[in-house]
Structures are given as C-alpha cells and as structure tokens.
C-alpha cells in the first residue's frame, strides 16, 4: 500500500508536467507527418509511415522517461518533500520503487495513446497491423522500462541535467553496441576481442527491442524472440533498480 501511495502521487504529479504534453504532442505530430516523408521517398510509402510512426513512439517515449525520470528523486530532495516521506515507517527501496512504478504507469498510458494513434493512422493509410505491430509496441515499452530504471538510478545520484546527459548518451550508445562485436579481422582472436565481447554482454543492447524495423519491412519475428527480449529487459531493469536502492539507502537527504 505504501508503494502504491507513492506511485499514485508520482503519477499524479507527472501527469501535470508540461514537458510531458510537449513531448507527447511532438510525438503525435511526428507520427502524422510520416506521410509527408512517405510521399517524398521513392520506395514503399506504407513502409516509411510504419517505420517513422513506431520510431516516434520509441524516441518520444524515451525522452519522457529521461526528462521526467531524472527528476523523480532529485526533485523530492531539492523541494524537501522527501523529509516527511522517508521519515515514515517505509523502507527506502519502497520509495524508489513507488517513484518508478508511478512513472512507468504514466509511460504505459503515453505509449498506449501514441500506439493507438499510430495504429489508426497506419490502417487509415491502407497498411496492416498484425500481431507483430502490438509486439513491436510492447517491446518499445519494455525498452522504456529499462531507460526509466536507469534514469531513476541517476536521479538518486546526480542533478537532472547531468543525469539526462548521461542517460541520453547511454541510450544512443546502447543502440549501437553491435559495433563492439563487429570488429575488424586483424583484431579477431586478441584480448581486445574478448574485452569488447564482455562489454557487449554487460551493456544493454537496446536495438534488440526495436522489432518495429522488422515490422515495417514485413519480416517475420518469432514470439520466442519477443519473450526472450522481455526476460532480458526485465533482468536488466531489476539490476538497475537494485543499484538505485543501494545508492539511495545510504544517502543523506
């Protein structure tokens, strides 16, 4: 109940945030304007629309997760609302978890809103959805779970500005971890290769969650692949949240 009370307030506060609406509106504009790019391209217009719509859900969702998430804990300390909260008989992890759950509930709503708008738009333009469309949106949300956990971790460590810079860099980098194992021939078999491979396994591979590219191109994806990615994301998220509570446990507020 304590976690829920904190989550409910976090949700309530975040839904009043102007940044949220700004990003949401940009996301929707971006979905709708995908048609213009579709016209301009020579290839398959529908493919471009699907591609850009889902990319918008992913990117604007991530921006919300980062900008709201890196503020979550920091703001409570900065505004001193935290004093009366963690002096209650709650554990500090309950506070972190409550903040986290509040934001991911909000992200579920925004993802759903953008997902529905983009689905309607694709159908309106004559495209088809299929199960894979919903799986693609689900995996986008799953990626947001991970990004939010990382944002909350940074929020209990540092200021929102620095936190956002770090999370956004990690986000960009996390989509390009493929280059770590895609190494030149003369490096194969060296220590460097093992090292890079180790980094590859430690860092989250965010592009694994982007099955919307396959959806846009009409490529089949197995359900097992989706499930495994969800397991992978859940483990990673749990690890990040665990780190956040460790950091926060000993913090002076």
């Amino acid at each position: 109940m304590r976690i829920r009370a904190i989550a409910a307030n976090t949700y309530r506060e975040a839904i009043r945030d102007k940044v949220l609406y700004l990003l949401l509106i940009f996301g929707i504009i971006s979905i709708v304007s995908s048609r213009i790019l579709g016209y301009m391209s020579i290839g398959d217009e529908l493919k471009i629309i699907a591609d850009i719509s889902l990319a918008s859900i992913s990117i604007f969702g991530a921006l919300i997760a980062v900008f709201v998430g890196t503020n979550l804990v920091y703001k409570e300390i900065d505004k001193r609302t935290i004093y009366t909260i963690i002096s209650r008989p709650i554990d500090r992890y309950e506070f972190i978890l409550g903040k986290y759950l509040g934001l991911i509930t909000l992200l579920a709503v925004t993802t759903l809103v953008m997902g529905i708008i983009s689905a309607l738009y694709i159908v309106m333009m004559g495209g088809s959805l299929g199960v894979i469309y919903f799986e693609a949106v689900l995996l986008i949300y799953w990626k947001l779970l991970l990004v939010t956990a990382f944002s909350v971790l940074l929020s209990s460590l540092t200021s929102p500005v620095l936190g956002a810079i770090i999370v956004l860099s990690a986000y960009v980098f996390g989509h390009g971890t493929g280059i770590l194992i895609d190494i030149p021939v003369d490096m194969q078999g060296t220590y460097m290769e093992s090292l890079l491979a180790a980094i590859y396994f430690v860092l989250p591979n965010l592009s694994n969650f982007d099955i919307w590219k396959e959806y846009a191109n009409g490529i089949e994806i197995s359900h097992t692949y989706v499930v495994w990615n969800m397991v992978y994301g859940a483990l990673y998220t749990a690890l990040l949240l665990y780190l956040a509570t460790l950091v926060f446990e000993n913090k002076d507020v």
């Binding site: 909260i85 002096s87 008989p89 507020v253």
Partner: protein, 313 residues
C-alpha cells in the same frame, strides 16, 4: 522507571562537501537521553547541529559513528519511525494536494486503514483548524497554514514521540501561542516531545528538561529549574525615605544605585549584602519597599553556557 524514548551514544556526523572532501564534524560524540513523557528542549546556536541530530533520529541522515535509538529500536529500523511524528524545520508538502489529500497520503504511508484515516482527519482538522482550508491546494498556503498542516502530518499516526524542528520559528504571536498550547496538550496526553528552538521564552514555558548542543556535544542538560537557579545575578533592594548619608554608606557595598519609580534602588551582588543593607535601613527611619533576587534568565544562561562550552575545547 519510565522507558527511554530517545537515546544517542557518542553520535558523530561529518558531512562531505560536494567534492567529497571531509568537512569539520557537525556532531562529535553526542550522547543524549530523553525519557518517555518528557518535553525536552534542544538548544544550540545556528549551525550547532540540531537539525542534523533530528535528521539522524528520523532516518534521513546517517551517522558516521555512534548509535541512535528510539524506544530501543535503531534509527535504521523502520519500526523506530512508526513511533515518531516528525515536523521538519520548514515543512514542505506536495503543492498540488489539499490538506485532506495530504493527510490521507501520510495515513497510507503510516499503514492506516481508510476508517482510521478518516477518523484521524476529523480529529486533526478540528484540533489544528484545518477544516476551512481542507480542500484548497497547498500551493498558496502561508507559513502558518503550512505549519499547522505540518503538525497534522506529524500527528497523523498518533505517535508516542514527536520530534519537532523549531516548531515556532517564523510564526506570528498567534501562531506561537497555538504551538505552545499544542505542546502543553501533548504533554498532558503523556506524549514525549523533543524539539529544537531558538525562542528561549517558549522553551521556558513548555520544557521539562533542556539540553544544549555546543561543539557537537551535549554541553549541559537538566531540568530547567536546576539549571536556572544555579546563579542569582543580583538582589535588588528598593527603598524609600532613607537619609542621604545612609545611601552613601550603603552604596560602597552595592553594585549599582539608581532612582527607580518607587524609590531608590540598590543592587547587591549577594543575598548577604542585601540583608545587611535592609537591616541598616530599618535601624534608621527608612523603609524597604521590596527585596528581589534577580535570577539569570534563560537568555543569559544560554549565552554564558555557549561561551563556557566554546572556551572548554
């Protein structure tokens, strides 16, 4: 023997600067004991570490060394916090909630049922005069309104111990009066109250015991009377119809002689000198209008102890 509500043993706290450098210790071996049912005033000048001590007790800040416990539970244990109501120095609440919603939120954090929360609201809104503003957002609240809400939040769980950080600071006379009455009421209800303050007059009116924090340690503590009767500053003798030459004679042993409304006032540094003077006046034709020992005020005491404490180390 009553239970011990608060106990700290050799508490040390050293904050770190932003660059991670060690700062001078804020608390340096603070040992303190507050018994149940006591109203304890925690004194110390700005920056003495009162808020730090309170934050350690409430689980907001962790000590580097030493122990702190509440009714026997360590400050790391959340059971300790379930017995405490805490009012921060300047309480801040979610600006977009109303007092009613705020109390409900803290009730949930305390683990109360809906029925218990409603009942508590009825009691506290009446006690703290929150009914009129029950459904206004906290955003526009004045300091006095925030403080009342702060008290309601602190008392939400009907705690055995209240820890109040400067409960009267920033309030107008009406507000201070309200807080004082509230504290007296809590004392009647056999609650334990631990509060820090600068306003010594208020301390004098409500405390059973006081402790003073100097250089990160408890410099003095005790019942207010015991501390204050230690020193009688002077004895004032006001006289009338005393011949000039007697006055002149007495003024050699007096600290000070001046004209008061009722007559001539002679200040002596001891009771013996004052008594001797009175006898001499009676032996003549003069009258003694009054003979008043002037005790040290808490203010004087505060300054003197502060200086003693700082001189000692």
């Amino acid at each position: 023997m009553s239970e011990i509500a608060i106990e700290t043993k050799s508490l040390c706290k050293r904050y770190r600067s932003h660059l991670g450098m060690g700062l001078p210790p804020t608390l340096d071996g603070l040992s303190l004991r507050v018994h149940e049912h006591e109203v304890f005033g925690f004194l110390g000048k700005n920056g003495a570490g009162k808020t730090t001590t309170i934050k350690i007790l409430c689980g907001l800040v962790w000590q580097n060394q030493g122990e702190a416990s509440i009714f026997g539970y360590s400050n790391r244990d959340k059971r300790a916090r379930s017995l405490v109501g805490y009012l921060p120095e300047n309480p801040y609440f979610y600006e977009y909630l109303t007092p009613r919603e705020t109390l409900d939120f803290y009730g949930k954090l305390n683990g109360d049922t809906v029925a218990a929360r409603n009942k508590r609201w009825d009691y506290l809104s009446e006690l703290l005069d929150l009914s009129d503003i029950a459904n206004q957002r906290v955003r526009g609240f004045s300091k006095g309104m925030r403080q009342r809400l702060g008290f309601a939040v602190a008392m939400a769980g009907d705690p055995r111990l209240l820890i109040l950080d400067e409960p009267m600071s920033g309030l107008d006379p009406m507000g201070r009066h309200m807080v004082r009455d509230l504290m007296l009421r809590l004392r009647e209800e056999k609650k334990t109250v631990f509060f820090s303050s600068h306003i010594l007059g208020d301390v004098e009116q409500v405390c059973d015991r006081v402790g003073m924090l100097v250089n990160g340690k408890l410099h003095r503590e005790g019942a207010l009377q015991d501390l204050l009767t230690r020193e009688t500053l002077r004895v004032d003798v006001v006289t009338r119809d005393v011949p000039e030459d007697t006055i002149a004679e007495l003024s050699t042993s007096a600290q000070r002689v001046y004209d008061a409304d009722e007559g001539v006032c002679l200040s002596f540094s001891s009771h013996d000198d004052a008594d001797a003077a009175a006898r001499k006046i009676y032996a003549g034709s003069g009258r003694v209008v009054s003979l008043t020992p002037i005790a040290e005020t808490l203010e004087d005491y505060f300054v003197r102890q502060q200086e003693d404490g700082e001189g000692a180390s």
